[in-house]
């Protein structure tokens, strides 16, 4: 277990290093000047700016400085907000994105498993067809389409939920702000999880040990809940890692639609303003989160399925 953790963390750090390097060199060799604005800057100002951002030094020196910076938690100055450090802008918003993602993750796993397992229990009967349709709907209605539709129907037309915003205090009415964004983010994964869960359960239900359990006279409920369920849902677990990454990517869109103060907003704004230190910083934070969640999911996998060895 410890060896596994150490190895995964080392690999994770190496991946982050590659990502940071790739980003750095794409950004550094990009055409155009990051400081060029609509109005022409006087050459002295431009030179001073380049000095402030160390653009006057050789590329390799800059690279080493940048990497050292990331190691010590110095993400560099934002270009758009010239007196602010990137990490001071990003870090306060990380919590929002992570919380939203966590809620969506829980919805996706629980609702997806529920739908999938019900479908397998009523194979080729109407609950199965309903579940399969939900699965299809989730796959062909992406979150950036689902979000506006949910806002139109449930927030604007029916007025059941607020249009957007983030809960400001711990009360039920404030937390209802989370429902639409979390569901928007989760639906496609509810679909995938239910498909995987259904397929896994149907697969297991045809196994010999299930027949044995039935043959020895166990009632169907027990066969299903005690014998099949545990083994049938393992395929879902292997999707949980990639799902964490997809949810974080998706939250960029969902934060935009529902106007949430998350990292995605900063990422999109920075991308538009060509604020490259900000873009790089957000990408690195996202990547760190993805790697972290993947390790977490693998540990969870090994706890739930003892056949999996962490080696």
């Amino acid at each position: 277990m410890l060896g596994f953790l150490v190895r995964r963390i080392v690999v994770g750090l190496a991946t982050l290093f590659v990502i940071a390097s790739v980003c750095f060199f794409i950004v550094r060799f990009a055409p155009g000047n990051p400081f060029s604005q609509e109005r022409q800057l006087p050459p002295e100002v431009l030179r001073n700016l380049e000095k402030k951002y160390h653009y006057d030094k050789p590329v390799l020196t800059q690279y080493v400085m940048r990497m050292k910076g990331y190691l010590t938690g110095d993400f560099g100055l934002s270009i758009k907000y010239q007196d602010r450090q990137v990490e001071d802008i990003i870090f306060p918003s990380v919590g929002t994105s992570v919380q939203l993602g966590a809620v969506a993750f829980v919805i996706a796993i629980s609702a997806g498993l529920f739908v999938g397992v019900i479908a397998s229990a009523f194979h080729n009967k109407w609950p199965d067809y309903v579940a399969t349709s939900v699965g299809l709907l989730g796959i062909c209605v992406p979150n950036f389409l689902l979000g506006p539709i949910l806002v139109m129907v449930f927030a604007l037309a029916l007025g059941w939920f607020p249009v957007g915003g983030w809960p400001e205090e711990a009360s039920l009415s404030e937390y209802s702000k989370l429902i639409l964004p979390a569901f928007t983010l989760a639906l496609v994964h509810v679909a995938y999880v239910s498909r995987l869960g259904r397929a896994g359960m149907l697969d297991v239900l045809h196994k010999d040990f299930i027949r044995t359990a039935r043959a020895k006279g166990l009632d169907e409920k027990k066969v299903f809940l005690k014998h099949a369920l545990k083994n049938g849902v393992t395929p879902v677990l292997s999707y949980a890692g990639p799902m964490a990454a997809y949810i974080l990517t998706g939250s960029v869109v969902v934060e935009k639609i529902f106007n949430l103060p998350g990292m995605g907003q900063h990422f999109v704004d920075a991308a538009f303003a060509r604020d490259l230190p900000m873009v790089m910083g957000t990408v690195l934070v996202y990547s760190t989160l993805v790697i972290f969640f993947n390790i977490l999911v693998d540990i969870g996998y090994s706890i739930l399925d003892p056949r999996v060895r962490l080696n």
Binding site: I139, F144, V253, V268, S287
Partner: protein
Amino acid sequence: MAETVAVTADEVHAGRSPGQLAVRRFFKNRRATVCVWLLVAVGLATIFVPMASSHDYRVQQLEEAKKPPTGTYWMGTDANGRDLMVRSFYGGRISFAVGLLATFVSIVIGVAYGALSGFLGGKIDLLMMRFVDVLYGLPHMFIVIIVMVIFGQSFLLVFGVLGCFGWMTMSRIVRGQVLTLKEKEFVEAARALGVTTRPMIWRHMIPNILGPVIVYATLTVPSIMLQESFLSFLGLGISEPETSWGVLINEGANALNSLKIYWWLVVFPGMLLAITLFCLNSIGDGLRDAFDVQQR
């Protein structure tokens, strides 16, 4: 009567290639068959509706802005008074074009890379596949966005970049296929006859891995179209005056307000996107069942 039976039996004996059998199995699948026709209909509409309509996708008439669907504007008009129907189908053209071209790019890279890696084997294979693993580890959507930001948004870049980041799974599938094919007798026979590397890959390997490649390519198209819409929705993909389904849905989302619901701005382009994704995924699933491809 007896003669007809004999003829059909003869036909069976005449033999059918595995490909023909797969096509027959595919068309027995009702959902997939319906989806083929539906997709053809949407595809033709994206070509011909903008041509046949009297409206232009660029002409702005501000006095006609945000009109609900009427006899003149079947799908209403957008915030700048442009006919939404023409824009939706014209945008579909771009979405389809990006999906198909990027898939083509990813097939070319993926098949060449996977075939080479599997064929060469040994240390080179290990190295090449490690490289793919590293690429898998990258959060590629973010890197795509960085590239788009830096090099500017253009149609060429959208499909080029999406294609360049979409070939990894394809290369893994192809490599796996090549590895199993390499052990087959006919390949050994060909090698014994002195066939060199290049004809071996092109004449003997590629035709035999076509099934899985077609299946996976069909599933790549919707995923690329989805990514293109995602980028365009964020305003980082296709940009004005060109349009795509992602751009249109974004415009619809921006027009959301509590005073008046401009539902048509989201619903029509969204519906076209959803139908297309549904059809492509169903066809892909149908092909997979027909070719009986095991993924990896």
